[in-house]
Amino acid sequence: MRVGVPRALLFHHYGDCWISFLEALGVEAVLSEPTSGDTVNAGVLHADNETCLPVKVFSGHLMELKDEVDVILVPRVISQGYGTCSCPKFLGLPDMARSLAPGLPPVLSPAMDLGDRRFLWVRDWYKVGRTLGRGRFTSAAAVRSLLDSLRRHDAESGCESRDGGALSVGVAGHFYNVNDPHVSLRLVERLEGMGASALTIEQSSEREARRHAAALPRKVYWGFEQRLAGAVLHWSRTASVSGIIFLTSFACGPGSFIGALLEDELAREGSVPFMTITLDEHSAEAGLVTRLEAFTDMLRRVPRGSRTFAVPERGAGL
């Protein structure tokens, strides 16, 4: 039995947990290759043309796995934390995967509702074990290993908070964009090549992020965006970065709102410079490099903490 796992979307969050579950079940987990130009092209061809870039990339990974595996694992991540929900695209992802192309292998879609304190969703994973022909004991053990690796995952993430030296840039974006070198056009590497150190959301303190997000006048209800907004506000209020790059993808729903929210909040507070970079399947390196260079040059001019930014004048415009 070969179970395919697309290396896309929330694999960048929970991939190791899923793999450890499959290993405990004793089935062979087949990961798709890292994203390449062909992956994106295949995704653009098969996915609905209005979905966001990461979903297209996901579709590309799925098409690559199509002929190699017996079943595909696409967990339905319902929430990533208590009191939050996921982007609708994650909620409908398995169903979207099923209608992607004819002749796809069966899609297994156990739910993953990390905000559920009763852990009712683990039943789905147990059933996956049984569907794959494993016994009760093995399935239960696999579920236990999934929960263990999730706990480790929680413990590891979000406790590191380092100061990145003189010129540090906060890169606020989804893991599946930032951590995928093909999609993000090696943005983090490029920043470091320009002499800046990049701080990602992973390296921000989860506790601080939660504190700042809770202080917003209206709660951000998407799990990851809540973390992102909190982390950006933390960076800006403690001036732990010189500038922030908000990396979003074309047609990203929550991104369009969170971008507007942060832009407004940071402008009101008059703190660090904020730049939005929108990725799509046509993004080219040259355009990105030019913007990064301009941004880092601007940050170099004025040392951190000494700048005063004019809040946009009220009543202007229209």
């Binding site: 979905t51 609708p88 695209k89 409908g92 398995p94 209608s99 990203c252």
Partner: protein, 386 residues
């Protein structure tokens, strides 16, 4: 306090009724125009969905017209609608407007937030708790009647013998309903409305196509953005049924009294294709398409605003529904740039497709159709006002 709200379908009628009940100074928001959309698109974030931009435009115009309090719906996801109010507040404040924005959260988000939102426009000295509940129940019963007028109008427009008779009936029905306030008056108004529609002369020989309209509530309900799809199809002899109504959205317990299928039935119909709630009207679009297909409709039109998250899911799933259930589905993405001609061309192509499909399947379908031209569109049965 001069209150204004967004505009969508017959929402202004409903708000006017509520304003009358609670003695609120209500400014009707201006009708949508190119100017509204231009203002909205220039202020709102680029990738925000069309309803947000349209409502920002409406709010700016309402504030210019003298409103000082804005009412907006809330929610807690996963659709972006729940965060509209916050983004709109920030946009308008940045533009220098002074106003108060009241967010009406649905009770499902938080009972407390819903009640306090309500109480900030209807303070206890205007209406005690009992009065508030009673008036809201009556208002809801009235919303159902308003939506039924729309529903019956769409069902009969394509079959009217004399052009314009349905429109006249609907106008009269609306004014009859608008004048009803107590439960008894509303029940009587509903009977009168039903009579008005039953008196409309129908052309029974006409071969009507039956088309379902599904999609995101704002673009489906607002004639400015769907290019008045109901009338456009009606003029071409099409019987139309819609899946979304304001009353169904507002009704507690997911009963959908106007659409006629409750949430569980919709979810069951959608289950082979979409097994989880995706926010907004995504699940309803898929479920309603499956229901329409099962009932032998000729085609389904799916409206969605550009980048609408739930409907994009629905759109990619609908491709499979269409294939497996053999019903043509046309997804129309609407944004501030969408032109009338492009939409009409595609609708005409859909009508041609539906007609030729009907002709190919002449023997079974024509027989069924001529024996029961009304199908399940009859005015009897249906919902009862609470």
């Amino acid at each position: 306090m001069r209150v204004s709200t967004p505009r969508m379908g017959n929402l202004p009628l409903i708000v006017e009724d509520l304003a009358c009940r609670f003695g609120i100074d209500y400014i009707e928001p201006p009708v949508f125009s190119e100017e509204t959309v231009r203002i909205g698109a220039s202020l709102a974030p680029e990738f925000a969905c069309l309803p947000l931009k349209a409502v920002v435009g409406t709010f700016v115009q309402a504030l210019e017209a003298g409103a000082d309090t804005l009412l907006m719906g809330g929610g807690s996801g996963p659709c972006r609608f729940g965060y509209y109010a916050e983004i709109q507040r920030r946009i308008l404040e940045k533009e220098g407007y002074r106003f108060k924005l009241i967010i009406l959260d649905p009770p499902s988000t938080s009972l407390k937030a819903a009640y306090s939102g309500l109480r900030s426009i209807v303070p206890p000295d205007v209406a005690r708790f009992g009065t508030l509940v009673r008036e809201l129940r009556r208002a809801l019963a009235k919303v159902v009647v308003f939506d039924e007028i729309e529903k019956w109008g769409l069902a009969l427009k394509g079959r009217e013998a004399e052009p314009g008779s349905v429109e006249r009936a609907a106008e009269e029905a609306c004014s009859v309903t608008a004048a009803a306030f107590t439960g008894k008056e509303i029940r009587r108004a509903r009977r009168e409305v039903q009579q008005l529609f039953e008196n409309v002369g129908l052309d029974d020989d006409r071969q009507c196509l039956r088309i379902g309209v599904v999609g995101e509530i704002f673009v489906v309900l607002e004639p400015y953005f769907n290019f008045d799809i109901g009338n456009w199809l009606g003029k071409r002899g099409v019987v139309v049924e819609r899946s979304v109504h304001i009353a169904d959205t507002a009704y507690p317990g997911g009963r959908n009294p106007v659409f006629g299928y409750d949430e569980r039935q919709v979810a069951r119909a959608a289950a082979p294709y979409l097994t989880h709630e995706v926010g907004g009207d995504g699940l309803l679009s898929v479920g309603a398409t499956a229901i329409f297909a099962r009932r032998g409709f000729d085609a389904v039109i799916h409206f969605l605003p550009f980048t609408c998250m739930p409907e994009v899911i629905a759109k990619s799933v609908l491709a499979r529904v269409s294939e497996e259930m053999g019903i043509p589905v046309l997804s129309l993405t609407i944004d501030e740039q969408t032109g009338r001609a492009g939409v009409e061309t595609r609708l005409e192509a859909l009508l041609d497709l539906a007609r030729s499909k009907r002709r190919r399947e002449t023997i079974p379908l024509e027989g069924r159709f001529s024996t029961s031209p009304t199908g399940d569109l009859s005015l009897r049965g249906g919902s009862q006002p609470p």
